[in-house]
Subunit: 392 residues, 2 copies
């Protein structure tokens, strides 16, 4: 085992004797149903008995078995959160917001990472299906039809993807891409590259569409580069290609790629923003820490997490899953309400964009460092919509 130091000891330890509702019933001299009610419907049991039962439960260290409860009620009070890549700093704020929102409603969140792998996504939905009351699918890479199919197995809310008939939380990256392109055109750039992300990404398609339109409108030429891995190395890998293409500005699929690209250009001796301007998307905290600080399209990730949880729980509550009456009954479809909410994005101008070759020298060659003229006050907090606005 080489360098690793291992010490091992064997010990007799109190085995995990699972204490059940039955033990508590025996100890407190009541029927198990009374114990059950003490926990799940306290108003139905005599205060005296209640305290006695609670005391015994406390004493024995009893904890209700949520799995067994779920078997009957059909509600686990868990929600699943499937994430394309935990290592992408875009997601943690979303995860935390979702967890906090869920906690307020007495739900727990189980996060799972798919490594951007569609197969893992599908498998995880199946694995989670019976253990959670619903699943949040964040930036899924699988096909729309598969998502629809899976949604029949477990309630789904999709984030960063539009699937008709399913509740979706979207961020207006179209608007964001447009603002970015307009910003660049305004700075005097006429030859711009769009650094694409994963092919199966909805965000990617939206950006292409919107950026293309905005470039046409602004009289600029837009070169599409990609698809690429949405990571730092994905960005640095195309630095050479960017240089050869001769563009003076780049809009990247996300901040990670933008940062990677800047690194790559730096290694090639290309200066940002003096020779090439770079814009990212997401406004991850990292984008404030690199030099130059990154101009980027801020996405309201926290609001997205909260909204998604709200939508899931709302949809979930109105149609309990474990319909008691089995077989013979009406197998009619449930009238289900689906909503799509679109959250605003905001361009945050920092130091990675500067004047391009066609910049009007109206003002005496503004210093490329420092906040651009458009820069709003402060670090650019997006006007994130609060997540509680879900139409019925």
């Amino acid at each position: 085992m080489g360098d690793t130091c291992v010490t091992a000891t064997t010990s007799d330890e109190g085995a995990a004797v699972p204490v059940t509702i039955r033990d508590v019933a025996r100890a407190s001299g009541v029927h198990i149903s009374t114990v059950s009610r003490t926990f799940s419907a306290p108003h139905l049991v005599n205060p005296e008995t209640r305290v006695r039962v609670l005391a015994c439960a406390e004493d024995l260290g009893y904890r209700p078995n949520r799995a067994a409860r779920a078997l009957i009620t059909g509600r686990t009070h868990n929600i699943g959160l499937i994430i394309a890549d935990i290592a992408n700093p875009f997601f943690p704020p979303l995860i935390k917001a979702a967890e906090s929102q869920a906690r307020h409603r007495d739900y727990h969140v189980f996060v799972a990472d798919t490594n951007e792998d569609p197969t893992a996504e599908e498998e995880l939905v199946h694995a989670l299906a019976k253990q959670v009351d619903g699943v949040l699918l964040c930036s899924p890479r699988m096909s729309n039809s598969l998502i629809e199919q899976l949604s029949r197995e477990v309630p789904l809310v999709v984030v960063n993807r539009q699937v008709t008939g399913l509740p979706c939380v979207l961020m207006d990256v179209g608007q964001g891409a447009r603002s970015a392109i307009e910003h660049l055109v305004g700075l005097g750039h006429r030859s711009i590259a769009l650094l694409g992300g994963p092919r199966s990404s909805w965000t990617n398609r939206e950006m292409r569409r919107a950026a293309g339109a905005a470039a046409r409108a602004g009289g600029a030429e837009l070169t599409m580069l990609g698809p690429n891995a949405p990571t730092e190395v994905g960005g640095s890998a195309v630095a050479e290609q960017v240089r050869r293409s001769g563009v003076s500005a780049v809009l990247a699929y996300n901040d990670l790629m933008a940062i990677g690209l800047i690194e790559g250009l730096d290694a090639l001796g290309v200066r940002v923003p003096q020779e090439v301007s770079v814009v990212g998307v997401d406004d991850i905290t990292l984008s404030r820490l690199t030099r130059p600080k990154l101009t980027t399209v801020a996405t309201p990730t926290g609001a997205a997490g909260r909204t998604a949880v709200d939508m899931l729980l709302q949809q979930d509550i109105e149609s309990p899953r474990g319909a008691r009456g089995s077989g013979a009954g009406t197998a009619l479809g449930v009238r289900r309400t689906t909503a799509q909410v679109m959250l605003q994005t905001d361009l945050v101008i920092r130091d990675s964009t500067g004047p391009g070759p066609y910049a009007r020298p109206a003002r005496p060659l503004a210093a490329p460092r420092g906040p651009g003229p458009h820069c709003p006050a402060g670090p650019g907090i997006p006007t994130a919509a609060t997540g509680d606005a879900v139409a019925s």
Copy 2:
């Protein structure tokens, strides 16, 4: 709802009719037990029947209910992973390694974030207890005694904390802190600060101990600063204090704090490493992206994740939890094997450390930028021990 755009539609959709083993049995004309065996013990059922059952199952879209199965077998094939802060880039590599290792052994991983909150930690262990076969506790903030108590409820493996009697995966931050101090002393620093992390962190205590000893041995004075939040803002918040203290070098609890500190010093006009040298711990990817690149103690996070999963599964397999015989039987303790493994750390020298006031001018004042003289080849890949070495 202000800026948010919401569209809502109502649709009739196929309800999630849960198809059970019974439906499959009816459809294929066999008893439910045969269906069960088709999935969990295929060799016991006639090949012909098997294909028929499988066809029906496929047809009906049957998926075994893992929760119900767990109720009987006592095994969920899930493992829980409780993380102090998902947003800390230290954790994602650990999470991914754990997930990959678990997947190889046909387990799923549920991640939960506690926001560095001990209460949330305890609550999550309880919530997970019956839904997983074991829990990995990463950098826990609760007390040792509480951890021991919880370990009676569900098998636990602790990462980044030493708890006697429990399996632990540790990283040798003591050694790391020593190397860092020796590195600084060697550069001619005699007045060094230790930027502490959370008070309840085992790593924090280890670092204090080891750094203190190393400083004494090297004839340097060590100032303890903290406790602080183990984040970027936690680091930048003490920049002023660091400047006032007059030290020429700082060892930070982790990279995030180190980076925050550098930011803060930069804002104060203090240059790193010319005026103050800074060393971090963890070697997160970010530490290669900031300027100056961070000198840091690399911790083998991936190996830690893999090892922890291995230890949990090993401990788990040898003592199945759902002991069939209930009450009357022997309530003796199970003979349980616990091991502690210590993984190596490695100092990676980059650009945030330079000569101190007592540097020997042996060589003509080396340029402070660029890799230091000790820098090994490449980006400093730590010689991480592979995680499969767990003694029994």
